[in-house]
């Protein structure tokens, strides 16, 4: 072994001392205050961006004025049919056709070319940044308010905001996730904003890009699949390090460099569009610089008005900082964090708030941190405070979902992910002091967001995992853990370059993407897998309605292979429709809602001169989640065992019981429940079906190609779609009755993991992860009694390590006492800050639907039973 040079030894020693200090830091009063303010502030609808954008667009309206009378009548009818649809009366075919016809007509009348459209949205973005209200909250060291409220839910009428139309009157009184809205907002939305956008939003245009006019009403039924991207694509880890490294001045230069080298464009449409993209991107980069300057002026005023001299100095320091950032590269750690966050705010001035993630923060912020420590302008304690302020900021945005979406995506998480640890390009371990610091800072803030994700590999240091376990044990479900080896392999199999795959970070909940290079549309599609099985067993029909191709009925199936064949056919058919629908939405985004600002932060766009929705990113994939994997596996296992192997029932008898929802056939339901192998108890008989189904699914998904050039990538995570789908899914051969919730992620059916966590994990490790390019979630419920003290942290570490050694991809834990959840359901007021892990993300318990609350309690009870050791 070579002798380390002494400075390095000294650095190591300093590192050790600082880590020890961290443990002893007292509660930070500033963070405590900020946390409390955010919890106390409540939620509010934010119409600021919608209002500014509408204001700008109205003045630059490309639709001719003479259309106005027609639009008015159309809007009235449209509003009525939306309201009816919200009450469960779907639009009639002729209504859909008429609506599409009119929208096509408007589109024809719209004189804007794609190039003009890009420039128009770039200018609208500039208008938003120029006029957004700037707010500095008490005590905060990181500023930037993505909405006009402390905790705000911005609405995006140019995307899918019109879906809120039927609910605007009762937004503040609806049973799930009520959101306060004031009278002025209500009036503006109903009279100004919605009437302007209803026929020129992504929601309006998307149906024009498919030949199947009823496709989108199928989507909103939520039986077979859910398409989400009306609401926006987002779900991306922007290249924030680019801003820290080169500033927007540098980005501007980069754009100009390409623009200056553009050939003469006249007459060549493709080249013309590239030039327009560069011009649009340039406008947004300049807008970003101007936004920084505005902040500087605002902070200077605030500093001057501040009575408390200490706070005044803090504000003056921030004002000074904003004289440079985000135009200039970040010079210090503090500047880097502030520049990062203000860019995050600007991204949300353009994009919908879901899954916009921070990437490998401990890696790209570390050089600033260590440099400032060495030069003495930063202390570890100060760094912790800055990071705490940053983390709290991420909790200020919540998504806005309409009622049905709330059923599928309960919990109000806008799912900003943040990734720690993991391998470096040379294969060594990347955990550094900042990785620890981030966790300590989170421990003090403990709000629902951001989602903390930890990359784990062979050399992840035990003390770091112990800290993760210590943080996790206090509840809240964070962080979640990812296995570097498996994730990188899945990404390589999905077409990613090896070095990019190794640099993955988590987008949103659990989706793995390459920071700064992917535009992964990770939350695009959710597929109800058990419905594919139902269709397979019922000749393609659901009730009396034919949905899929005919694949036979009970009497036609002689072997399990026949059933699997039918399932595969139905699944492919379902995927084809879902992909067609999603492609249409993406084409609508590409043509009608370009995001030039985001494009400056995704590698490939400037380099190729292509806007990000049009396929500029290096990787332009689409995420497509399978929901209810365990229900399908258990159903197949039950049929295999009872019908084909033990021959205790005929398939017709079994399906007869299933189709009667087991009415009068409790014996058969019990037989299935008790006498067949289940996924989650590590029996090969059931686990092999989970493996087969996961393989069929991910391969079938991979066949589809996005209009942005990349493949569709399969994932297994569900947010709360397993609830929404469950309500609509009939009884299954797994013994599950109609309407019951489906299994989430790659977890077993609730309560069936009777052999405890190791067996459940061993089952999950058998899932075919080779092509899971878009993430999977294994939810483990652990009773707090099991993991007390140091031994408890060690136990958690063992479970993570053991699972990953078996080939597991991802695991997350909900550590919560069922008694607390039950009490919280009864007394929500006592538990405003109770954070629980839902699926791929954490949420305040109070924000969940009642059904989801009950499910969590049920799951937690099961876990305490299965782990009681009796």
């Amino acid at each position: 072994m070579s002798v380390q040079p002494s400075p390095s030894l000294q650095a190591q020693e300093n590192h050790r001392i600082r880590l020890d200090q961290l443990k002893a830091f007292p509660e930070n009063q500033r963070l405590k205050k900020i946390r409390q303010d955010i919890l106390d502030s409540g939620y509010h609808l934010c119409t600021q961006k919608a209002s500014l954008m509408t204001d700008y667009m109205k003045r630059n309206d490309p639709q001719p004025k003479w259309l106005e009378p027609l639009r008015r009548v159309h809007y009235g009818l449209y509003g009525n049919s939306m309201k009816k649809a919200a009450k469960g009366m779907p639009q009639r075919t002729w209504q859909i056709a008429a609506n599409n016809l009119l929208n096509r007509f408007y589109q024809r009348c719209q004189p804007f070319s794609p190039s003009e459209n890009q420039l128009c949205f770039a200018k609208a973005f500039r208008h938003i940044l120029d006029n957004m209200e700037l707010k500095v909250y008490d005590q905060e060291l990181i500023v930037g308010n993505p909405s006009s409220h402390r905790v705000g839910a911005p609405i995006h009428p140019e995307l899918g905001g019109l879906l809120m139309l039927p609910e605007i009157d009762r937004l503040d009184t609806r049973p799930n996730n009520p959101i306060p809205i004031d009278a002025a907002q209500r009036r503006e939305l109903k009279e100004e904003i919605f009437p302007f956008w209803f026929n020129r939003s992504v929601l309006a245009f998307a149906p024009l890009y498919t030949k199947n006019p009823e496709l989108f009403s199928q989507t909103t039924e939520g039986c077979y699949f859910i398409l989400t991207q009306f609401a926006g694509i987002s779900h991306v880890t922007p290249d924030y390090p680019r801003v820290l490294r080169m500033g927007f001045n540098g980005i501007k230069e980069k754009i100009r460099h390409h623009l200056d080298r553009m050939p003469d464009t006249r007459g060549n449409r493709a080249t013309e569009e590239r030039r327009a993209f560069y011009e649009a991107a340039l406008i947004t980069a300049e807008a970003a610089i101007a936004y920084g300057k505005r902040w500087s002026r605002h902070l200077t005023e605030q500093a001057a008005a501040e009575k408390n001299p200490e706070r005044g100095a803090e504000l003056a320091a921030l004002a000074d900082m904003f004289r440079r950032i985000p135009a200039e590269p970040a010079a210090t750690f503090y500047e880097a964090v502030q520049s990062l966050f203000i860019t995050h705010v600007m991204v949300h001035g353009e994009n919908f708030q879901h899954g916009v993630s921070f990437g490998r923060v401990d890696q790209y912020l570390y050089p600033y941190y260590i440099k400032d420590l060495e030069t003495g302008i930063l202390t570890t304690e100060k760094a912790l405070e800055i990071l705490g302020c940053f983390i709290a900021k991420a909790g200020e945005l919540i998504p806005l979902f309409f009622d049905r979406a709330t059923e599928f995506f309960s919990g109000l998480s806008s799912a900003s992910g943040l990734t720690l640890g993991g391998c470096l390009p040379d294969g060594s371990d990347g955990v550094n002091e900042l990785s620890y610091l981030f966790l300590h800072a989170y421990d003090q803030v403990r709000l629902r967001q951001p989602n903390f994700h930890v990359r784990v590999h062979r050399d992840t240091p035990a003390p770091f995992l112990t800290l993760c376990a210590d943080v996790l044990k206090k509840g809240g479900g964070l962080p979640a853990f990812f296995n570097d080896e498996q994730v990188a392999t899945a990404l390589v199999n999905s077409g990613f370059q090896e070095d990019d795959a190794a640099d993955y970070s988590i987008v949103g909940c659990v989706e793995w993407g390459v920071p700064g290079k992917s535009f992964p549309a990770a939350g695009a599609v959710f597929i109800n897998l058990p419905m594919a099985l139902h269709l397979a067993l019922h000749n393609g029909k659901f009730g009396t309605k034919a949905f899929g191709p005919p694949t036979g009925t009970a009497l036609d199936f002689q072997t399990m292979d026949d059933i699997i064949g039918g399932f595969t056919t139905q699944l492919r058919h379902m995927l084809a429709i879902a992909a067609e629908g999603n492609d249409a939405i993406e084409k609508a985004h590409a043509r009608h809602r370009p995001t030039p600002f985001l494009s400056t932060l995704v590698e490939g766009c400037i380099e190729r001169g292509i806007e990000v929705n049009n396929g500029g990113a290096i990787y332009g994939t689409v995420g497509c989640q399978g929901v209810g994997l365990a229900d399908v596996a258990d159903s197949l296992s039950a049929m295999d065992e009872l019908v084909f192997r033990k021959k205790r029932l005929s398939l017709a008898e079994m399906l007869g019981a299933v189709d009667s929802n087991y009415e009068g056939r409790e014996d058969i339901r019990q037989l299935i429940a008790n006498k067949t192998s289940k996924y989650g108890i590590n029996r090969v008989e059931a686990d092999r079906w989970a493996r087969i189904v996961s393989g069929i699914y991910t391969r079938a998904v991979f066949q589809h190609k996005s209009p942005r050039g990349g493949p569709y990538l399969g994932g297994f995570w569900s947010m709360t779609t397993h609830q929404g789908f469950g309500v609509r899914t009939p009884a299954l051969p797994s013994g599950r009755k109609a309407g019951e919730t489906l299994a989430n992620g790659i977890s077993s059916v609730n309560g069936r993991d009777r052999l405890g966590p190791t067996a459940a994990m061993a089952s999950a490790a058998k899932i075919d992860s080779g092509l899971i390019g878009n993430g999977c979630a294994l939810n483990m419920k652990i009773n707090p009694d099991q993991i007390q003290g140091e031994e408890g942290s060690r136990l958690l570490r063992w479970l993570i390590r053991g699972y990953f050694d078996m080939g597991g991809c991802q695991v997350q834990f909900n550590i919560i006492d069922p008694a607390i959840l039950i009490d919280a359901r009864e007394h929500p007021e006592k538990y405003r800050d109770l954070v629980v892990r839902v699926s791929g993300y954490s949420a305040y318990f109070n924000d969940l639907t009642d059904a989801m609350k009950d499910e969590l309690i049920d799951r937690t009870l099961h876990s305490s039973r299965s782990l009681c050791g009796c």
């Binding site: 035990a462 019990q670 008790n674 479970l799 053991g802 050791g869």
Partner: protein
Amino acid sequence: MTSVDTATIFDIQRFSIHDGPGIRTTVFFKGCTMNCRWCQNPESIRPGKEMAVYVDRCIGCGMCGHVCPTGAIPADRPGRIDWRICDSCGLCAETCPAEALVLVGRTITADDLLDDCLADRSFYNVSGGGVTLSGGEPVMQSDFLRGFLPLLREEHVSVLLETAGNYAYSKIDALLPMLDHIYYDFKLPGPEEYRTMTGGDRELILENLAALKKGTVPVTVRMPVLPGINTAPEQIARIGRTLRSIGIHEMQLLPYNPFWESKLPRLQTEKRPLMLSDKNIDYRHIADALEQIGIAAQFPARHPGTQDAL
């Protein structure tokens, strides 16, 4: 010496974290050489398979009555067994859809048991865990274990034996080379108490313990705390002195758990609830008393050698 190819077990419990170091899989062997009044697993005592009835699970389908070849299940009372007639054939349990009738005990081959024991190997590796043999009295099936334990050894799986020591020494002697640790129960002060309350032979148990203590396999002595049965100061003192006299310096106290009483109504058993509670037991006090005699007593029980394998 012949070995036996199959064992009779009544449970395999994954993720055992209180039966030795790390994460373990515990195999419960059926059959015991003793019959303690407070036995935590009253279903483990008979060596053969036996029926258990969970009345609350019965859905009244009556299929059990139809399949019972001996007529031990009356047609008007499905799910109830006439123990005088039942021969534990298990047909009813196989048929019962609701798991109201359960056959306790199954025959398993060494290969199948090995598969089950290796399923959590990743977790043993990272935690320093392994397999725990429990029961019942696993040593009763020593002929099987002589063939089985070498398979675990080949796979580098660590093995811990939980035993009460009431058998001829030769039974365990043959297993010693394949064991990594022994948890040895010592329950009561005097031979008379041992005989009447457990059916065990105290002298034999002590002799075996003394012999094991001289060997190379680490032995941890454990005493179940039985409120009112072995908790009087003079009883504790006598147990302590006895153990001290054969060179024991450390032991563990196992807290009393009345959970076993809820199993009784399901089984054909003579056992009656003892209604004991450790509410008034001061474990610290017992440990202090043992300390006086020169024995360091740990509670709650914790494996002394628990290592951090990471």
